[in-house]
């Protein structure tokens, strides 16, 4: 059992190993040598060629853009979902159940239903700083929505907030704190693990998103890593070493993030309280 697990683990890693070896071969070598063999020499120049292949931009630019957008989206979700979760978990008010069901229901909505209307919305929202005068061509559509709530985050955090004993909140209220202060001083600090989980998931989703940047971003220097890689792919058809170098490089930040934050991934799911 143990052995098969290890073998399986290695098998899972094979694609990545292959990416690495291919990225270090010469183009001719890729076709002539067996797939997983080691390159005859370490052709690191594939990486520099890939890095500088596109005019005016390098993958560094793409990373920067991805980081900015993913961070903003993460911030937005963490703030607004925790606020909504707090409301659902702690207060009683009319329509609470209906509203919560509505929020959850948005999980079901396939994003492509709202794709076109959202595009139209952004088309007619004015933005004086963009060339078009509206939101198309900017990165705004990629993160502003995050400041207006989200189903997954709200669900996750509500479950977590529900486990926080109300005595703590009561104590704070007795001290004269208003609900906002209770939120900020009691619930948020206690929810750090859940918030961290939400943050990581959202960051990852934004980072890996292909369709939205594809539609909304226009100029190459504004591209995120995913679109940049796809664009790159279109330019380098058949040139495997450079493409694999590009793919590998684009993966690195996420892999590093994962290795660091592994425990939050698992914990996050537990916290979502799947029993309810």
């Amino acid at each position: 059992m143990y052995i098969s697990l290890i073998v399986g683990g290695l098998a899972m890693m094979i694609p990545f190993l292959w990416m690495l070896t291919t990225s270090l071969k010469t183009r001719a070598e890729v076709f002539s040598s067996p797939p997983l063999s080691f390159p005859s020499g370490l052709h690191w120049e594939n990486y520099s060629r890939m890095w500088f292949a596109l005019p005016d931009v390098t993958f560094g630019t793409f990373f920067q853009n991805s980081i900015v957008i993913a961070s903003l989206a993460t911030l937005g979700q963490v703030v607004t979902c925790s606020m909504a979760a707090y409301a659902f978990a702690v207060f009683d008010f009319r329509f609470k159940r209906v509203l919560f069901s509505l929020v959850l229901a948005t999980l079901i909505i396939p994003f492509q239903v709202v794709l076109v209307p959202n595009f139209i919305l952004y088309r007619y929202l004015p933005w004086p700083f963009s060339e078009s005068g509206n939101w198309i061509g900017t990165n705004l559509p990629l993160w502003v929505w995050a400041f207006f709530g989200g189903a997954f985050g709200t669900f996750l955090l509500r479950q977590f907030f529900l486990t926080i004993p109300s005595e703590l909140a009561d104590a704070a209220r007795v001290d004269g704190a208003n609900p906002w202060q209770v939120f900020l001083r009691v619930y948020v600090p206690l929810a750090r693990p859940a918030l961290a989980t939400l943050a990581i998931f959202q960051f990852m989703w934004s980072w890996n998103d292909l369709l939205d940047p594809l539609i909304y971003l226009r100029d190459l220097p504004t591209y995120t890593t995913t679109v940049g890689l796809a664009f790159f792919q279109g330019q380098f058809v058949g040139k495997w070493p450079e493409m694999m170098a590009g793919a590998l490089v684009s993966l690195l930040p996420m892999i590093i993030l994962f290795v660091i934050a592994q425990k939050y991934f698992v914990r996050g799911i537990t916290l979502s309280g799947l029993k309810g």
Partner: protein, 462 residues
Amino acid sequence: MRITRASGCHRFLAAVAAGLLVAACGGAGPSPSPSPSASGSTEPSAATSPSAIPSASAVPSASAAACGTYAGPPATISYAIWGDTTELANQQKVVDAFTALDPSITVKVTVADWETYWDKLQTALAGGNAPDVFLMDGPLFPDYQTRSQLLDLSPLITRDSFDTTQLADLAVKDFTGADGHLYGLPRDMSTVGLYYNKKMFDAAGIPYPDATWDWAKLVEVAKKLTKTSGTTTTQWGFYTETSDMENFWSSLVWQAGGDILSPDKKTVVIDSDQAAAGIQFLQDLIYKDKVMPQPVPGGTGDAFENGQAAMEANGSWLVPTHEAAGIDFGVAPLPKGPAGQATSVNPSGVVVYKGSKSPDAAWEFVKCYTGPQMQSKIADLKASMPANKQVLTGQYATSFEGGKTFADALAYAHLKPSFKGFNEFGGALQDELDSKVFNDKQLTAKAALDEITPKLQKLLGQ
């Protein structure tokens, strides 16, 4: 206003359609002449602004001061093209030459691969921030022109007395709207020919392809040049791209006596026996004669460029790529088909976005692009055939081996079909052929075409 005629040599050039004597006049550089406003006349004369760049020795000086007379405020315009990074570098050179002529206009060039280019363009148009100038493909032109996205250039052409007859007629036709106005100017054209790897032919002792070749001869020689070792093929006799009609198969259709649409563009005729025969020939090359690699979605990479194929039927745009790959190649006309010789010509042009914020600067760029100096730069790059007649038959035809073949091919070339809705039509047709005829041998050409024609007819009607 009158333009001084610089020399009788130039008058002679104007009279001769195919300027084979440019070499004789080659040394004549542009001579200055007063021309307060841009002028065009049917008689070319030498005139450029004093700040003209020194032109290459083979540049014919032609229609007057089309360039360098921009008097508007400094502007920055965006110019989008399709292609790869090599193409981008090439276009940048052309742009640099333009900036030397009109320093107050800055041009920002952006490139994207073919599919992405059109996606981005449509999104940009829908979003209201399309590039000021962008490249337009002949077949797709109606889709954009009929939706009022392009600036009507005819008033500007008249205002600046720009001479459109200096550009290839077929190409100009492709950019004319239904109202007879021009909504773009052709920049260049591409025809299709047969590249051949000299070394491989020499090694096998086979004479190079020439104008006498026909389909049977192609198969015969390709078979001789296909080498296998065990189950892998180490050298292919032939290679082409099957994923678009332009690369090869539309020429085959015409060579077999068929066509894609009826002349009035109302009926789909690609299911005719002749048209099917053309496509069947290509399928046979892959599966029956086995002289070319089986296509896959996403492409296999250009076998000819990688030195793995002896011949390639493809467009004139590949010349710099093949040169850069170090292949010693020549270009012959395509092998003739049962109904004779035919090839595809596809102009691409520059159009101005109707909503451009700097239409005058954009027009200036477009104007220059089709004028002799810029066209000469295009000929220099060898990646496409200049639309400017003189530069085409002069500089381009003589600048590399094969140039004349491509230029001469215009005489028997058919325009790639161009009509509103071409994208979807072409996509459906290509999809059917890709999935059932080329990438996989599921149906014969005729069966596949019979299958898809009703749907195509429906699309045409929309």
